[in-house]
Symmetry: C2
Subunit: 365 residues, 2 copies
């Protein structure tokens, strides 16, 4: 066993605190990774607070993990000791279902679905159709920790030109916005609307712009408006009815990154005929969608969940190639609870990324 | 002017009563049609009762019109006196916008959108962006009438092997269900779910079956269950939770024909990954859609509105070729108010089709 330390919540109402625990040694196909940085995702907070009613405690979040390979199993060929690598939202999947065969592991239809980096498996043994747990564990501990052990197939290569702390949020926020834009065929010249400008919205706007799209960001915050404007994209306040009216039926694709229940109807109106608005931020019931507006231009409202391993590698490489990445603020792990509060208050201009050296320092002291 | 008679409502709370009126003589490109039969669509009732808050009175419904050409304008080449022809939901469109150029007149983006067969134009001059009415009329009178005059491009050919009274509902119920199945690529071997089994559901099930799909009808009515079973398709009661559970993630396409606000979530669960549920029955806000279920398999919920003129001709020809059509009950127009009540009560096994000879008889007497 490997002695590890991380930050975890013991209950839905608990603050995150240090937790010593053990990880299994790397098996033949696994990679042991010393964690260098871990991004803070809004879903970490949802999960810690049990807002999706499926949290297993203790809950140690973190699925935007970048680190250095410290050990490899005997059969590992894809990664070598010393490599800078990443781990996103998944650390395994059933590998045999149709989506897995098609390279869409994030839609794994195995009895426990994919194995989430923390709080996994996605479908617990208790809820699986046959009560079977293929992964042999009912909880996983994420990247708010000193070390992580992951199968080589679920470990991403971090391009040399990406700073590791900048790469971290690409592993979730990046691929979550990149994957639907790829799936729904966003291309150069398209008009793309990005609704909400947090960690996902920031990445969506930068990725769409790098794809050659004409990007409009919709936000309710004047601070975020100014921030988005610096990307050289159009920015519209969501309450600016005249602006919304002038943009009617003009978008080829819209992506909603708002991380809670919201009303997509004003944005459905901005889509061209036959186009789709995709919701990636909210994993909950939306406000009622008016089918009159949807049907009158044969539109659709879809959803998308993170992205495949191949998409994740693709978006990392795409970011490196185009010199883009999230705006981040590096924090020591001791500030994590305050950071959560600020994310919940919508009071963040940057994606928080935890410098894991702070954990080692605390542990050593 | 042509002296005409029809059945119309004077107010939202009125019963339909005979109304004498005048129609313009056929212009050079227009066709005068003696109406033989007119189908009764659930939307006739919505419109008469002003349930979409846009009804212009008097309201003379009817957009499933079959008749015989009685006169043609000088430039008419497509139809000849004596031909049995049909008129569906539209009698004109702007013809210059991108959807019109693409042959999608039913999504016309001209300032008044398409000209509805009754209660047209779709967007009134008052609500049009520039206050302009391209059609020169603020109301149109539909097929519950002795005669109708329509531009040749919006007149359909009724195949000789289709009885005219059977052809009538294909002009709305048929194309409304055919068009989205074509657009979303339903093909032989697909599993298609049809939600609701009224006039639209009946046509959807027959069309999908004729396309070679494996069809399942979902209904809440035991009478309709038995009726649908006679088509040789699978029928599932919507409240049969075990059956719904066993059908999870198994459909390639689902079509909701329920004509009012409803909850699509139980049916979204039945779609395969990456597939779409399309709502054609309800032109109003749906119950809140749970984006968690949508996103977890990259599904979509879309809408579709009737179909193009080309689609309408195609579905008429398809029905003739495959020997399918709606189950109908022919009624005299004097029974129209009772028929409305029965449609509203969901108490109809057949599509009502008005025999217009009854109107002439009344008029003559």
């Amino acid at each position: 066993m490997i002695n590890a330390i991380g930050y975890a919540a013991k209950h839905s109402y608990s603050r995150l605190k240090p937790l010593e625990f053990e990880r299994d040694e790397a098996g033949p196909s696994q990679v042991e990774i010393e964690v260098l940085y871990c991004g803070v995702c809004h879903s970490d907070i949802h999960q810690v607070k049990n807002e999706w009613s499926n949290t297993v405690y203790p809950c140690m979040p973190g699925h935007e993990v970048v680190g250095r390979v410290s050990r490899t199993g005997a059969d590992v060929t894809a990664h070598a000791v010393g490599d800078v690598v990443g781990v996103g939202c998944m650390i395994d999947s059933c590998r045999h279902c149709e989506p897995c065969e098609a390279g869409d592991e994030n839609y794994c239809e195995g009895p426990n679905s994919w194995l989430a980096t923390y709080n996994g498996p996605m479908v617990s043994a208790k809820k699986a159709p046959d009560g079977h747990n293929m992964y042999g564990r009912d909880n996983t501990y994420g990247g708010y920790s000193s070390v992580i052990v992951v199968d080589q197939d679920f470990v991403l290569k971090i391009p040399a030109t990406l700073r590791p702390e900048v790469a971290a949020p690409i592993l979730c926020a990046g691929v979550t916005t990149y994957s639907p834009m790829k799936h729904w065929g966003v291309k150069a010249g398209d008009r793309v609307g990005v609704i909400g400008f947090g960690g996902l919205g920031d990445m969506a706007a930068k990725l769409a712009k790098a794809m050659g799209a004409e990007v409009t960001v919709f936000t309710t915050s004047k601070d975020k408006r100014d921030e988005a404007a610096r990307l050289g994209v159009q920015v519209v306040m969501e309450n600016d009815e005249d602006a919304l009216k002038s943009l009617k039926s003009s978008f080829d694709f819209m992506l909603s990154t708002i991380p809670e229940k919201h009303d997509v109807n004003p944005f459905v109106a901005l889509l061209k005929r036959d186009r789709t608005l995709v919701v990636v931020g909210a994993l909950e019931p939306l406000a009622p969608i008016n089918n009159q507006a949807v049907a009158f231009s044969r539109k659709s409202v879809g959803g998308s969940l993170i992205g495949s391993i191949a998409d994740t590698q693709e978006v990392l490489d795409f970011c490196a190639e185009h010199g883009i990445g999230p705006d981040i603020e590096v924090i020591p792990i001791q500030q994590i609870n305050d950071a959560y509060q600020q994310v919940e208050d919508g009071d963040v201009r940057f994606r928080y990324v935890i410098d894991m050296a702070s954990l080692q320092a605390e542990h050593a002291s």
